[in-house]
Point group: C2
Chain length 267, copies 2
């Protein structure tokens, strides 16, 4: 059984998973966190499931060797296709970002009409759609929309920007028109656009931030296993497979300042 003193491992294809790290840090400030961004192979969204599973296994192996007590798959694409394989191969709890967001969406909807946005690959995989149906007790309809420009707009730093608002309006107006009452932000970059998305969707549509839902799930699992670390200040370490400078630069958009060293590794 893992011990409370061991770190939590988080991997993503790139920098986006930092929204998940941020929420875990906020909710569980004493935990030691190790983040791996597979920046040499980003984006996973355009790769085949077979390839994504292979990359994910490699990431998990690297983090397991560092003695983690729980693995967070902070990448939607990887959560969609590799969770079962990772659970079968690793002797620690594995948490993805899709189930927590899907569960929350089901909890929040009163009209039974849920919207999901994400990268092309996430939407095409149907993973949120399937997860929502699994959690729903009453019939729900899911309408989804890929928003491929949101990630580059975030990485450009154009968060509250007329161009980003116009793109959001283009992507989201059809979803709004369908009368959804809940919208799942199904990509780790999207919480940075929450203000813009909220403005387009209006106050009557509830937004589900998968990053904060995932952090809640991590907390629940650690507590139920009695391995939550609840004293001291947690340390953070960052590993990337390419371009540590760019990671640091983009990391500032997500976290203000990166609270730890960034090392480049070869996987």
């Amino acid at each position: 059984m893992p011990k409370s003193s061991q770190p939590i491992g988080i991997f993503d294809s790139g920098v986006g998973g930092l929204t998940v790290l941020k929420e875990i840090s906020r909710l569980l400030p004493s935990e030691d966190l190790i983040y791996l961004g597979d920046t040499a192979r980003v984006p996973y969204g355009t790769r085949s499931p077979k390839t994504v599973i292979r990359y994910s296994q490699r990431n998990a192996e690297f983090l397991m060797r560092l003695g983690i007590k729980l693995l967070v798959v902070a990448c939607n694409t990887s959560s969609a296709v590799s969770l079962e394989v990772l659970r079968a191969q690793n002797a620690v709890p594995v948490v993805g970002v899709i189930e927590p967001g899907a569960r929350k969406a089901v909890e929040l909807t009163t009209k039974g009409l849920i919207g999901v946005i994400g990268t092309e690959a996430t939407i095409r995989s149907g993973a949120y759609q399937k997860a929502i149906k699994r959690w729903a007790k009453n019939p729900v309809r899911v309408v989804s929309r890929p928003c491929p420009l949101f990630v580059p707009l975030v990485e450009e730093g154009w968060l509250e920007d007329p161009i980003t608002k116009e793109v959001a309006r283009r992507y989201l107006t059809p979803l709004k028109g369908k009368g959804i009452d809940v919208l799942v932000l199904g990509c780790t970059h999207y919480p940075l656009l929450e203000g813009t998305i909220r403005e387009v969707m209006g106050p009557e549509v509830k937004l589900v931030n998968s990053a904060s839902e995932t952090a809640l799930e991590v907390k629940g699992i650690l507590e139920s296993l009695g391995i939550r670390k609840s004293f001291g200040e947690g340390r953070r370490r960052f590993f990337v497979t390419d371009g540590p400078e760019k990671f640091k630069h983009l990391g500032k958009l997500f976290l203000g300042e990166l609270p730890g060293e960034v090392d480049e590794i070869d996987l």
Copy 2:
């Protein structure tokens, strides 16, 4: 010495190099063309030079095994960092996309003030800037600007679009304000935005399309070596390292219809 009946090999990190294939097809319709899109590793622009050189070597080896007579590196990032290595290791002429565009820009400028746009990596590499200085006989100044949203806007298919125009205005107005008289489209995707870019820059700024300049260079080399194929209709073959369906879909934006089979290979 290579023979005229052998094919020309073209590689790019993804789909963008199809603008180069298109120009070569137009100029040299009898040539057999083999295109390799390393879609499992796209984009190269965010990788380190070391990584890009490794990928480029692998791509070149694959095409050399198919018996090509000339290698076109249709990827700006790869042209910027791997051309010398590829020339040293392969016994066929190797043509990149940077030199031809740089040479044309020098030829066209009367004010000695040249603008260059491209991906972040291409601009950061300084490759166009250096190539332009090499070709210039008189002093020239180069002002450059990364335009990271142009590639995803092209791949969204928003070619003549108010959002794309607004992004172009944001990126290009500062360049226009500096009084350049030539602008190099330093990314293989950008010829698809030529109309929009021209609208923002106005008729007094000449645009250099690296793809068509590269095709001219290929023609020149084949003719000077006496290995141009000038009869019959050329065949086209396409290889990708991931996602042939997506390649076909995006390929239509570039070529109308893909004039040949797309096979997935493992590199």
